[in-house]
Subunit: 211 residues, 2 copies
């Protein structure tokens, strides 16, 4: 834990020196992290230089999807490990041309529990929840929702076919984390991507202005 | 790990002495484990005596849902822990009148990674995957799908609104685990529950006949 904290501090320094915004994306398996990144790259590639660190237990399926969008990507296979850690991120960063980048997205292993407890030195943490998972998840997995800056509620195109209660979801999330920003999204349909991209733009700007 | 194995062995003995079938249900958050158990209790309560151990990080929401169906239930809060272990199950078992039971369901913490690695002494392991999570999940979370006896594919009522490829899902699951039984289900709509309940009946019978 201590060694991880130290390495996370080193990563923070690397991001700061290169004025790179780093964003850790966390969710259950299948909530839509990779699709969100694909669409983000399509929308912002002309104005913001992005790279992705892809965390997975096995396979490089997600990294191939990111590569197809034309962004630099490094695949990290945890070989069964349930989250990324600062050391994995540190090694992956060595593969990028950092001076050419504005943003590094870190797509964590699909897991709503363990990733919330491991610092990697990132600037911002994002939890993605998808409508089919149910509105009861924030209270059941509170550590995740307390830790993050943004909660993306993805797959809102499933709302008509689900008993997801938006009011109760918003109330629960805000009760755990009053400062949290909630973005409703359907990444596959394009809903909410403008709000998300505006948030990224704002954070990139903020990072560039940091001394 | 060793202590956990020993305790798991004790649990196995307890199940055997009482001729109780024990089933460990694992999945991502929101795949539908609790709904499956609610519907199973409704369907089988008259013929099979069931109890449930409910694993959660926090809250007793799921235990309340099971209690409402009239089955004995013990809530285990892991206080942030990402899976149940043999010790938690052993303690929970002390709360039940074991002689009066045919089946104990163990609903694990919502997590497709960690629970696959922890023995609890159970007879059967079941992975629940839901259609909105995507057909790529078996290869991305192979340990889980290699370990289980049954894979329930839940929320098949979402198939018309999703790009889930059933053929590729079945091929991938079978490539990891040729012996696995796949049950297509929509627990909320009642689809596939008969096949699931028949499997439970068969396993209860098998357990009663064990010496």
């Amino acid at each position: 834990m201590k060694a991880n904290e130290d390495l996370a501090g080193e990563n923070t320094k690397t991001f700061k020196e290169n004025k790179i915004l780093s964003v850790n994306l966390m969710s259950s398996p299948g909530a839509g992290k990779t699709t969100i990144l694909e669409e983000t790259i399509k929308k912002l590639n002309a104005e913001i230089k992005m790279a992705v660190i892809e965390g997975d237990l096995m396979t490089s399926k997600d990294a191939e999807r990111i590569h197809a969008q034309g962004a630099p990507v490094v695949q990290v296979n945890t070989e069964g490990g349930c989250h990324l850690d600062a050391n994995m991120v540190s090694k992956a960063l060595q593969e990028f041309d950092l001076e050419a980048l504005d943003v590094v997205f870190i797509e964590n292993v699909g897991n709503l529990v363990c990733p919330a407890n491991f610092a990697m030195g990132e600037d911002k943490k994002v939890a993605v929840l998808s409508v089919p998972e149910g509105d009861d998840k924030p209270l059941k997995y509170p550590v995740m929702f307390k830790e993050v800056d943004v909660c993306v509620l993805n797959k809102i195109d499933f709302l008509p076919y689900s008993n997801f209660n938006m009011e109760s979801f918003r109330r629960d999330v805000k009760s755990l984390n009053p400062q949290i920003k909630i973005i409703e999204m359907s990444a596959s349909q394009g809903t909410g991507l403008d709000e998300w991209c505006d948030w990224i733009r704002g954070e990139v700007q903020w990072k560039k202005e940091q001394k």
